[in-house]
Point group: C2
Chain length 355, copies 2
Amino acid sequence: MSTASHRIVVLPGDGIGPEVTAAAVAVLEAVSAHFGLALAFEEHAIGGAAIDAGGEALPAATLAACQAADAVLLGAVGGPKWSDPKARVRPEQGLLALRRGLGLYANLRPVKPHPAALGASPIKPHLLAGVDLVVVRELTGGIYFGDKTRSADAASDLCSYSVAEIERVVRSAARLARARRGRLVSVDKANVLETSRLWRETTSRLMAEEFPDVALEHQLVDSMAMHLIARPRDYDVIVTENMFGDILTDEASMLAGSLGLLPSASLGDGRNGVYEPIHGSAPDIAGRGIANPYAAILSAAMLLRHSLGLAEAADLVEGAVAQALDRGVLTAELAGDGRAAGTLEATAAVVAAIV
Amino acid sequence: MSTASHRIVVLPGDGIGPEVTAAAVAVLEAVSAHFGLALAFEEHAIGGAAIDAGGEALPAATLAACQAADAVLLGAVGGPKWSDPKARVRPEQGLLALRRGLGLYANLRPVKPHPAALGASPIKPHLLAGVDLVVVRELTGGIYFGDKTRSADAASDLCSYSVAEIERVVRSAARLARARRGRLVSVDKANVLETSRLWRETTSRLMAEEFPDVALEHQLVDSMAMHLIARPRDYDVIVTENMFGDILTDEASMLAGSLGLLPSASLGDGRNGVYEPIHGSAPDIAGRGIANPYAAILSAAMLLRHSLGLAEAADLVEGAVAQALDRGVLTAELAGDGRAAGTLEATAAVVAAIV
Ligand SMILES: CC(C)[C@H](C(=O)O)[C@@H](O)C(=O)O
Ligand SMILES: CC(C)[C@H](C(=O)O)[C@@H](O)C(=O)O
């Protein structure tokens, strides 16, 4: 395995962000020792913490460090302290600017429920056996980034997509589908939106031209919101635009029983990427040592796989988390009436399975 | 009870639309006989059927008849026959033009799972006991109706809301909440969208001024997509903008086990309204006599309640559907391994419980 030095920027962010990124770094250190890697970590500010420190949600130094890095590990941003709707600058803007600044247009959110978490899922267990899907969400376009207007009595947000923006994210999703079970579902609202009609036409054409071996199906977003929980086993890779992806991935997280188990990778054309749990900053439990670190640790596994090309190390981390769950090391939201493990105990269980 | 004549326009539409509206009309006839009402029915074309007949999804004669009516009962529109994304006119446009033409800005979608349908829900039964919520979806604004553009290599849809549009639908939802359990949750994406920030500010101000007795909570749409299935019992009335409402109501339908049980009412400032099942035209089962008529029948009950002011008649119809379900008269999607009832048998069971 490679011993070249890898530069990883860590952005702890707000709330439980610092606790869960610390856990992920501890696991990466263990992996590094195990394989004799040279990982260099560098911490920078983002979100509310950065606003408090210098007034900007994404300081220029942070963006520059991320641009120069091999990969970025992020905690979470935001919290009530910075949520005044009239605030000039909000933590979330830091996250959006980072995604956009690094050109990370494809956000991968895998959902593969672990048996230990089925009790915590609102979905009937027999529907969850064998679920293994990935949502690929477009991350740098759509209504998130379109022009906005505001007057005393009205407001607007523009949703726009170009053919090129659609093509590149669909291509990422189709490549992933080809390496998995060969099935891609594209989600839109083509019966109402012009952007969705362009999305559908572009996807159909591109898939026919470049991925004739991958089965393509189109779904309307409202139907998808039903099918996702009614027959989740039917899905392999799902690709969709930014806003629909935001909603559907949070919905899909319920299949896994807890947001605390779900990692994500945000990728662009290069190898660099941002890896973050899909949960938020959870200010209500911040600083209490009880946050679930598994999503951040699994995000670190995605970092090893996608940005560093260390598939074996990624497998080791994913296997270690599965072992910890198998052994019943469950944080509060998963433990039910059983004994709950804290952040450090859960992290230690993963590290123990690695060294 | 009133014996004034009520003029009801019936718009069967496409697919299973004609079958389920016929069922709802049969039930209304039975109610009419029972209470000595004078209901006059008048059928008009909409959707694909109207396109086939005259090239327009909402013929002027249909809109005029609906405007002159006391209430409108609609089946469903659309189907693969008219789904070419490049078609000049699409069935859905008829529905959107009708909602807009009648000024029906508040779409009420109640979800109250019946015990007989719990087996068909993907959600664990213990989470569903006692669920009784209504989503109020804004129906004539937002990204559905904003300017659209399309060029060879890009497309756009504009989402806009005015303070007045937000106020009127929030007021409808708050009145409903006041008449129920006094709790309103407003759903937006205020951490990203300008329209959502206006939505949140307007809602907070209006509720403080006019509904201090109704408890208000704000939720982000992505979180709501989780909470809706993880703790559905916590909700009373949920109000949201058009696109989010489209997605969340289809998701919420899974609580009830089947789309085939869920009615809706679309209301404006007057008493007139459009009543339709939330399911679609289901072209795959059209004409086979197996469609579930309960959602259309429950929509007719909402028509009696909201447009005709006949609460007692509405209660009778709702009670009759509950009785049919209690007796195990279940259509195919609900029957599991048991015997499935057809559309006519289910309708007859409801009628039998009325006369
Ligand atoms: C914090 C927020 C801006 C963000 C988003 O909407 O993209 C979050 O919900 C996510 O999904 O990563
Ligand atoms: C048919 C379609 C235009 C419609 C909508 O999106 O409003 C439908 O999904 C609904 O929810 O009534």
